[in-house]
């Protein structure tokens, strides 16, 4: 029961994060929502995890949950990468404006 509560808290946090990220990257947000909701479901209905795991040929339900956890971690990494790209775009705009302003002021003074 304690483990279920801890995992629920973790996955609920990820679900909230995924929902807030949906606006910036719909694809990543949507997949993360599905993964987190799936994880929550299996935490509380673990025998379904076992049945689904057997159905897809994984074996144990706990393995399936570990795989879902790995998928969530990779999605968080991808999201971090997308955030870095977005920041790089902002830096580029700033550097571009500086460069053009410098060149134009240099042209007008020479």
């Amino acid at each position: 029961m304690i483990a279920q509560l801890i995992f629920t808290a973790f996955l609920s946090g990820i679900l909230l994060y995924a929902l807030t990220e949906y606006r910036r990257s719909p694809a990543v947000g949507l997949i993360a929502v599905f993964a987190a909701v799936g994880g929550l479901y299996f935490v509380w209905v673990p025998w379904h995890a076992t049945r689904l795991a057997e159905f897809v040929g994984i074996g144990r339900g706990v393995d399936l949950i570990i795989y879902i956890w790995i998928v969530i971690s990779l999605l968080l990494l991808l999201n971090l990468h997308l955030k870095l790209r977005a920041h790089m775009e902002l830096i580029t705009v700033l550097a571009r404006e500086l460069a053009i302003a410098n060149a134009r002021s240099h042209q007008s003074t020479s």
């Binding site: 719909p26 997308l82 830096i91 580029t92 550097a95 053009i100 410098n102 060149a103």
Partner: protein, 228 residues
């Protein structure tokens, strides 16, 4: 009354091109075009050499990549009142004489973009591996943009003011060449291809793209798709 000649700006993005940039700028200037070189945070004398050769230098404070350099040059040229903007490589593999071919193609066909094609023109000293990589890239471009182009990742292209205003490059690195074609397709503006000649040299081949770069381009394009 004869119509006024278009105000043409040639945009060159350069990173550590000091050994060749003076000749490139001098050739373009001799052909009669205004030239802006975007020095993309070079650590060598690219900027100083360009200024000596008579080109306008716009210097990025940090290295951002060729795509970012071209977008900076395009925005600079637009603010300077350019009617036609030509993008031109810094490594000396393009011929200044081909600029007139592209501008002529724009005017004759009433297009907003004239894309240089080495496969309609010629390429000298092109290695087989480069040719195969380009052919694969062309197939990919045709598939993803719907444009039936004969060349891709050719840095020699011309665009009208309207065409240039519709382009907004977000890909800072090499994927900008694919991004331009995507944006041309999305803009619905007319494009035309014109034959140009590419002169590969040991220098330009050393600076050119590899299979690893092609993989990075695919990753960059995919990541951009995930962003809103």
């Amino acid at each position: 009354m004869a119509s006024q000649a278009p105000r043409v700006w040639v945009v060159i993005a350069a990173y550590n091109e000091a050994p060749v940039i003076a000749n490139v700028v001098a050739d373009v200037k001799r052909a009669g075009y205004r030239t802006v070189v975007v020095d993309d945070g070079s650590t060598d004398a690219t900027g100083a050499v360009t200024a000596e050769a008579g080109g306008v230098v716009v210097r990025h404070p940090i290295n951002l990549g060729q795509g970012a350099g071209l977008q900076t040059g395009i925005e600079f040229a637009l603010r300077e009142g350019a009617d036609v903007i030509v993008t031109f490589d810094a490594d000396g593999q393009h011929r200044a004489a081909d600029i007139a071919v592209l501008i002529d193609a724009l005017a004759r066909q009433g297009a907003d973009f004239a894309l240089g094609s080495r496969f309609l023109g010629a390429s000298h000293n092109q290695p087989l591996s480069r040719r195969m990589l380009l052919k694969a890239a062309i197939s990919f471009t045709r598939l993803t943009t719907g444009l039936s182009v004969t060349d891709t990742h050719n840095g020699l292209r011309a665009m009208t003011r309207r065409g240039a205003s519709s382009i907004k490059l977000h890909q800072n690195r090499m994927a900008h060449a694919s991004e331009i074609l995507h944006q041309i397709a999305a803009s619905g503006l007319n494009y035309v291809e014109a034959p140009v000649t590419i002169e590969y040299s040991a220098y330009s081949l050393a600076k050119g793209q590899t299979l690893g770069d092609a993989l990075m381009i695919l990753i960059d394009l995919f990541a951009r798709r995930l962003q809103r």
